[in-house]
Symmetry: C2
Subunit: 351 residues, 2 copies
């Protein structure tokens, strides 16, 4: 079974390296640098008297609010305990012992875990030198046993996107479910949510953990073909999304200003990082920038930063060739971005 390796936590690094927790800069988990919307905090404090009551089983009010945000009828919206919860529910629906799941690598490592736990076999397909999915090769990789194809766009950890026509081509060439993970799509220029209402085998997954700043509350969702609702609910863990997650998600959708501020900070910070990081960077449509630290290893550079209280994401744990040269850096506040740029320059001066 593959092991899921999360980004490091501030508390852990503070303890391990003897640094004050408040001095740690956490740019390893693609969290929102502005924190949570004040509307969310207010909504939560107003709704604490019903915490003894089970959450609404299918989070209907939240699903309606999401449907309005996306612009689809609300039976197309399904939720879960974070996007991980959505992915696990989809795997329960579609993966049986011995089924195959096609995964272009490197990418978010939860896909292979989620499929493997249900007895699925991940079939890895390396991306090309620019980390683009090799669509022709992917089509050749699809077999009769292929039940799921995981396409992350913008891709974690590389930051690049897939073209809509490529996703459509894949969907049209197979009966397997095409999972398009748009966890980072708010930071991008376009999205493909509409493909989930166009094709019967496309699901687009989304999260409140990134642009909406609710990683701590575990609210994920997907846009799915209409036929899927009743099937999904059969294998859905009842009450998956907690009561405050429902309330916070709805409040976050109402706070358009907080979202706009977040997008502005991320886009400006992303440009700054790409222009100033003293290593090879890659174009990014997400809230992180990936660098290649050759001839150094991701492990030694990451360790250097950790000792200075800066957490970034060593990509060595991602499946794929050469990931031990890759580091993913979350776009932070401009102050944080400057610190990480200076620290990497110092690394180069010392090595």
């Amino acid at each position: 079974m593959p092991k899921y390796v999360p980004g490091k936590f501030a508390e852990e690094i503070a303890r391990e390296y003897g640094i004050e927790e408040s001095d740690i800069i956490k740019l390893g988990s693609n969290e929102n640098p502005l924190g949570v919307s004040p509307l969310v905090s207010k909504a939560i404090c107003k709704n604490l008297d019903t915490l003894n009551i089970y959450p609404p089983i299918d989070a209907a009010d939240l699903r309606k609010a999401i449907a309005e945000y996306i612009g689809v009828p609300f039976r197309h919206i399904l939720v879960g305990n974070g996007v991980d919860g959505v992915l696990d529910t989809l795997a329960r629906l579609f993966i049986n012992e011995g089924d195959e799941a096609v995964i272009p690598t490197p990418t978010f490592s939860f896909y292979q875990l989620s499929a493997s736990i249900l007895g699925g076999k991940p079939v890895f397909l390396p991306r090309d030198a620019n980390f683009d999915v090799q669509v022709d090769k992917l089509l050749e990789t699809i077999s009769e046993r292929t039940k799921m194809i995981y396409l992350c766009t913008p891709n974690n950890p590389t930051g690049n996107m897939m073209r809509e026509e490529d996703i459509g081509r894949i969907a049209e060439s197979t009966d397997a479910m095409v999972i398009v993970d748009e966890a980072y799509v708010e930071f991008a220029d376009k999205n493909v949510a509409h493909l989930a209402t166009k094709y019967d085998n496309v699901v687009v997954t989304r999260t409140f953990s990134k642009a909406f700043g609710l990683a701590g509350l575990r609210v994920g969702y997907c846009i799915a073909p209409e036929w899927m609702y009743s099937e999904y609910m059969k294998v859905y863990q009842p009450f998956s999304v907690n009561r405050l997650g429902v309330i916070a998600g709805m409040a976050a959708l109402r706070d358009k200003e907080h979202l706009e501020r977040t997008l502005k900070v991320v886009r400006e910070g992303r440009t700054y990082l790409i222009e100033n990081l003293p290593f090879r960077t890659y174009p990014s449509q997400a809230n992180f920038v990936m660098i290649n630290v050759e001839p150094y290893t991701s492990g030694e550079v990451t360790e250097y930063l950790l000792r200075r209280g800066i957490i970034v994401r060593d990509c060595a744990s991602f499946t794929g060739e050469g990931t031990d040269r890759l580091i993913r850096i979350t776009v932070g506040t401009m102050g944080q971005n400057r610190v990480v740029v200076e620290a990497l320059k110092a690394f180069l001066e010392e090595h």
Copy 2:
């Protein structure tokens, strides 16, 4: 696939029957009649500034607090998104396609769902006339394919408990995992948490949803043999317990007064219901009382109460013989208990 049927929601009944939501009495989901502890509300409002950060992956601080409450080393404590999340994680660990899960019925219907989703086959064993598990018959039911045995004590929806020596006898007679679900154990006179440190194949599941009043936040846990920690974490959905669930669980454990008040209200109300309900009742060690409404059906009695804004649990959806005569009534505040007693008396007068 079996379908999970939850208790009815106040909002749903208000809409369907044209009743003010605030007039609804909700005694169908075994929630805490006193609501949430004030220490929990305070702790949540103090910790809203970190909602943009992922929860601690293994909820270590909460697990330590639970370990202290139970009195075991903290590696014996595992958590999940509600007890349903714990049960699903255990099923991922132990159930493969074609494996059997022994379930004495009637009982909590999530067990059969959780095992079935992973390709397991529920093997139902009817309880005796007093709803006690027929231990000899259960031992005969165990086969080479048996991987899990689900024992709920106090049992939902019947309220009775298993004897510790019977659980020990079952554990000693098989290599299958014995899941002892003690979701309601705080309302009972004794518990068997220590069996999970005595036997390598006993797991005791618990929840914050009942006595601790946190159903809305989805915090479940189990006491497990020490060897299980590393295995459990391999198939555990990372960040399953949300950040506020962690904080709320720790605060709830600190508020011993709220727990004591809850237990007092439930025990007094339980005695009142058993003495005054105008139908056959069964002894209960939980925060609910089951009645047998023969010669009426559970459906017609439940419907009569719903029209009066009183939600109780029709047991007809539980697997087993004769469950369409059974109704489970959550112990509420004394005022609520009186209303349900009077309404059932009125039913009998009218029929």
